[in-house]
């Protein structure tokens, strides 16, 4: 049975990692599609000073401010989602308002079923985000998303990025 997961986002850890546009080679070692990336701490509730609802704001630069050098890539890490398989956490990388990469930084391991889920879900995760936002959309309507899915972790990262 699904449980109401109200606490997940009270523990959002907003990791804003600034990757320089020119050092993408170093960040590539972090991404490399479905390679397991465990966070430094396995604590699913990292300490955080963020507000309860995780609201953060951004001010978009006006058109006049745009002619700047290549925009830096910023990574947003979503809250840890408790799925029926275990904790899932997703990090997206955003450059110039577009998601350029999505990766799971934490996901269930161990059982054979997990390996199956991971081999299916993780490779499409990256494609999924990159494709969905390429159409310049603000939100998605689809078959009901429940809290025990990968998308939930993904959505929270997207929400943090204000895409």
């Amino acid at each position: 049975m699904r449980r109401i997961v109200t606490t997940i986002l009270s523990t959002i850890s907003i990791m804003v990692l600034l990757f320089s546009y020119h050092t993408s080679s170093s960040s590539a070692t972090v991404s490399a599609s479905p390679v397991v990336q465990q966070p430094a701490s396995s604590d699913p509730n990292p300490p955080s000073g963020s507000s309860k609802s995780g609201g953060i704001s951004t001010t978009r630069p006006g058109p006049a401010a745009k002619p700047s050098p290549a925009p830096a890539a910023i990574a947003y890490t979503g809250g840890v989602a408790s799925t029926r398989w275990g904790p899932v956490q997703v990090r997206i990388t955003v450059r110039g308002g577009k998601v350029t990469r999505a990766q799971a930084v934490q996901y269930p391991q161990g059982r054979s079923q997990d390996a199956q889920i991971n081999s299916y879900a993780l490779p499409i995760l990256d494609q999924e985000v990159v494709q969905k936002q390429s159409a310049s959309i603000d939100t998605i309507s689809g078959a009901t998303v429940t809290s025990d899915g990968y998308l939930q972790s993904l959505q929270s990262a997207i929400d943090q990025a204000h895409l």
């Binding site: 109401i4 609802s53 078959a143 009901t144 809290s147 929270s156």
Partner: protein, 250 residues
């Protein structure tokens, strides 16, 4: 133009509120957003079939006479009856439980109803546009769109709602531009065969989805479910009675 987003997990779903406008950081805005989330939490407390102590769970067990239920529960029961009549019985609040016994379950209507209530609260924010996404159903509103022909970067009060492709959920099949109203999608892509057809007394196990866009998310959601499970002839009824609503069958 500033924007701000909040997300919370309520009713077992991710619920996000996105705001655009001038004063998205004011305490008043934060207060109203929290009110909107509170309205959704209230709906969860009263209507959740996953909570043993909700009024709906107590009605299902025969412990609470609907006539003594919370006025909001009675309101939803009346809306369910209307939705059943409107859709010629394709929408129902009598769903089989784990043992296959039909019991009161207004979940199919409550989500949209609760989202519309929360959206009404968000509409109190003057000078701000909002987009509320409740587990894949969307309601938007707020300030009138300001035409910005030169800056067509998605800013302003028009929200571009991507309708998910049910055959490949990594893709968006269509994009609908909305500044007021709701968009609801019913299908089996996310949760399998969970949509019940009261006429055949079977859960519908087919692909595809039906999205409905219109003034009220609750109505749109009722129609999306009804058209997904109902007979093809229901489309005629839809076109006759659902003024202001349009359907996208995928």
């Amino acid at each position: 133009m500033s924007r701000k987003a909040w997300v919370q997990q309520i009713m077992g779903m991710p619920i996000s509120i996105h705001l655009r406008g001038k004063d998205v950081d004011s305490p008043m805005v934060a207060h109203v957003v929290e009110d909107a989330f509170d309205l959704l939490r209230e709906a969860d407390r009263l209507f959740s079939t996953y909570r043993d102590d909700s009024e709906v769970s107590r009605i299902r067990r025969g412990e609470l006479d609907p006539e003594h239920a919370d006025p909001l529960v009675q309101q939803v029961m009346a809306l369910c009856r209307q939705a059943g009549e409107l859709t010629r019985g394709a929408f129902t609040d009598q769903l089989p439980d784990d043992q296959g016994v039909l019991r009161f379950d207004p979940t199919g209507l409550v989500k949209g109803w609760a989202a519309d209530r929360a959206a009404n609260r968000l509409a109190d924010l003057s000078g701000l546009a909002f987009c509320l996404n409740v587990g894949g159903d969307v309601v938007v509103g707020g300030t009138e769109p300001e035409p910005e022909p030169e800056v067509n970067d998605g800013s302003g009060a028009i929200w571009r709602v991507g309708i998910e492709d049910p055959r490949d959920r990594s893709r968006v099949a269509q994009v609908v531009e909305l500044h007021h109203g709701g968009a609801a999608t019913s299908g089996t892509a996310a949760r399998g065969a969970h949509l019940y057809d009261p006429n055949t007394k079977m859960f519908v196990d087919r692909g595809g989805s039906v999205a409905v866009v219109g003034p009220s998310l609750m109505r749109a959601d009722v129609w999306a479910t009804a058209l997904f499970v109902g007979p093809k002839s229901l489309m005629l009824r839809f076109s006759e009675v659902a003024d202001g609503y349009r359907v996208i069958s995928l």
